[in-house]
């Protein structure tokens, strides 16, 4: 039976340290399995979120050797075995304890987004939409809210500017609503004035880490930016717009 060393962040935002744990490996093991083994056999007080263990719920986000990952999808046999595997909490949000961070800001932001508005509100008729017209929003609706995109967003992570940008997760949500074939609301002024669509400088870091392979930048953020630009900055349209 071979073993691997996990170097795990322990503590909170005021005091913390790295602690090493030796864990026996098994075929196909993922980092989350190793964390569970530590909880069960070495230290039951090690805090870590998880639910489905199948990359469907987005609970177990963390950073493995500095790379944002779902711990349930991070295979141990794909990591260098000759050095400790460093496991840390996602960086953009304040640490509560060990690998658990305070992501409540995301839920507060979500409340501000205008929901779907159908033209025939109150009707119970079945909706008619073609598959080809919903393909692109179905991509956005794959989001599992793991917040890894929020973790790597330069505006949120390096700048800590949650006051000016909602972050890629919520841009994906905006896109799923704005591009819904039967939606009638216009969220473009809100996107510009409050959600901070303009602050994204399209480095595509969010797209790279998305475990659902959503093309966040190309398919969600850039088209939203274009729609906002059309409304506010199109010089031709401006001539005809009534003030």
């Amino acid at each position: 039976m071979s073993t691997v060393t996990l170097r795990v962040f322990r503590g909170d935002s005021t005091s913390s340290e790295f602690r090493d744990y030796k864990v026996e490996t098994a075929p196909g093991m993922v980092v989350l399995d190793a964390i569970h083994s530590i909880q069960k056999n070495q230290d039951p007080s090690l805090a870590c979120r998880w639910n489905c263990k199948a990359a469907k719920c987005g609970s177990c986000s963390g950073e493995v050797n500095g790379k944002p990952k779902l711990l349930c999808k991070a295979r141990i046999d794909e990591l260098p075995q000759d050095q400790p595997i460093v496991v840390t909490p996602i960086k953009t949000f304040p640490v509560i304890k060990d690998l658990v961070t305070d992501v409540s800001w995301n839920y507060e932001v979500a409340k501000q987004i205008e929901p779907l508005r159908l033209a025939d509100e109150g009707s119970t008729e079945p909706l008619r939409m073609q598959q080809i017209d919903v393909d692109r929003i179905q991509e956005f609706r794959k989001c599992i809210e793991c917040f890894l995109c929020q973790d790597v967003c330069h505006v949120l992570r390096d700048g800590q500017r949650k006051d000016i940008f909602f972050g890629p997760r919520h841009m994906v949500r905006f896109a799923s609503l704005e591009m819904h074939p039967l939606d009638t609301a216009d969220r473009r002024p809100f996107l510009k004035e409050h959600a901070g669509i303009g602050t994204c400088n399209i480095t595509k870091c969010c797209t790279e880490v998305c475990p659902e392979h959503i093309h966040i930048t190309d398919n969600a953020i850039i088209p939203l930016k274009e729609r906002v630009a059309d409304l506010f900055f199109d010089p031709i349209a401006k001539l005809f717009r009534r003030r």
């Binding site: 098994a26 075929p27 196909g28 093991m29 993922v30 399995d33 909880q39 069960k40 056999n41 230290d43 039951p44 007080s45 090690l46 805090a47 870590c48 979120r49 998880w50 639910n51 489905c52 263990k53 199948a54 990359a55 469907k56 719920c57 987005g58 609970s59 999808k73 295979r75 509560i96 304890k97 060990d98 658990v100 305070d102 992501v103 409540s104 839920y107 979500a110 409340k111 929901p115 779907l116 159908l118 009707s123 119970t124 008729e125 079945p126 909706l127 008619r128 939409m129 073609q130 598959q131 919903v134 929003i137 179905q138 609706r141 794959k142 989001c143 599992i144 809210e145 609503l177 819904h180």
Partner: protein, 594 residues
Amino acid sequence: MSNYETFEYDVLVIGAGGAGLRAVIGAIEKGCKVGVVTKSLLGKAHTVMAEGGAAAALANYDTEDGWKVHFRDTMRGGKFLNNWRTVEIFAKEAPERILELERYGAVFDRTPEGLISQRAFGGHKYRRLAHVGDRTGLELIRTLQDKAVSLGFDCHMETTLTRLLTQGGRVVGAFGYRRVDGQLVVFKAKAIVLATGGFGRMYKFTSNSWESTGDGVVMAYDAGAELQDMEMVQFHPTGMIWPPGMRGILVTEGVRGDGGVLKNGKGERFMFNHVPEFFRAETADNPDEAARWVDDKRNNRRPPELLPRDVVARAIYKEVQEGRGSEHGGAYLDISHKGADYIRKKLPSMYDQFLHLGDVDITKEPMEVYPTIHYAMGGVAAEPDTCATSLPGLYAAGEVAAGLHGANRLGGNSLTDILVFGRRAGEAAGDYANANSHGSVVNEQIEEELDVLMRPLSGGDGVSPYEIQTELQETMQKCAMIARTEESLNEALQTVRELQSKLDDIRVPGDTRFNPGWNAARDARFMLTSSEVLIRSALERKESRGGHWRLDFPNEDPYWAKHNIIAKFENGSVKLEPRPVPTIPPELEEILKD
């Protein structure tokens, strides 16, 4: 007196899966102030893991479908242990709830006419499951989450409730702790909706997450509510079996619905040898017909792989027992013949799951599967129309409730269950709250619970909660799984009793701040109580029916065909009572004869 925070709501919803969130919407629409307590973050509940779809007789493909056929299929799948009235409401309201969900923002896959596409599934006569690829649960929970958030409610995330508070024979609130900071919390409520899901963590190999420790059923039971059919647990035929860390994780029935076939270690398509008489007339009897069915459902009978889950799970079990297992002791599930494009479009998350976590490319190779604990048909007894439990003020909806699925749940019926009865529970709780005032919380109940909660932190050496959980899981897996006997069940019961005697000796390090060990200590009690009730009910039911298979009583029994098993907490122990299944009215019985 301990220091705790108090919150007050008209309606408190415990659990934020699909049933809980639909109940929130229902209660808000009744004008109530609603609070929700969830053990995880919002949107992470078990609903998210549902893959295949939500069954409703929309008849978008098969115009012959209708509520009566859905009613018939559900009753037959449940081996008539279902409450007919619950099933009637369910089958009639299912289409309405799905269409409503679409108006909330759910984006289902479409038919060529632009309507909701429907998928074939085990036990359903027609294509009936509204779906989004193989991530339908995510679509449901996110849609309900967004809708409920837009209406406004208080969400207490990562909070665990451990005791329902009662006064004067009704429920008046609940007590527990916030996981993040360990703060003790009291919720006062005029009515409570229990939507806590199942209890599959008592088994070693399960598709259930850490949350499914039976808190809901046991809190209700401790408070005096009746439980029903607790022996009825569903073993999903296809859980992952390899690698070890993935064992038990679900492989959607959609694989079989979309043409996947089961083969044993010898390469034989064994399901043709396991077709029960009851389903013979509607099942294909040769591979050619079964293969034709995938593209022409009208003129061919369904493949035997799509028999109800209990039948398929038993067949895999028997093949392995008789020495025809796969490499790791299961069966092969193969859909590679359908081609890579088809598979990636229809089953994207299965493709990903096996490729990244199992090193198997399902477009080229078969998957290896074995039955896994998946769902609890039994739970808190609930009235069909209102979801009221036997405890006034307490309502139960979704997996925690019993009555709809009988002895075996059909795939696709749970996602619809949570919509239909989540709404009904929320609205009925809202009505109750509007007609009643707050009761008063009895401090003794809180102090008593506090004592239980805090004991593991009282210092010194003791038993690890994980040790107890592991031993329970090993025992339940060995003795109370798919094939049961009086002897094996008694062995399980004895272990459960021994483990219960160790509960007061559990000790864990750390404090109450996000401490999984401390949380696991209280969970162990829930797991043991629910296990005890399950085992005792399973001993009582001396027959085989649906998910409950007794090797020592291999046949169905006419007496038990007409009785549910009710379990109640009385004078410190489990009291069991066989109760006649409600008599089905003649006009509905007619439907079953088809």
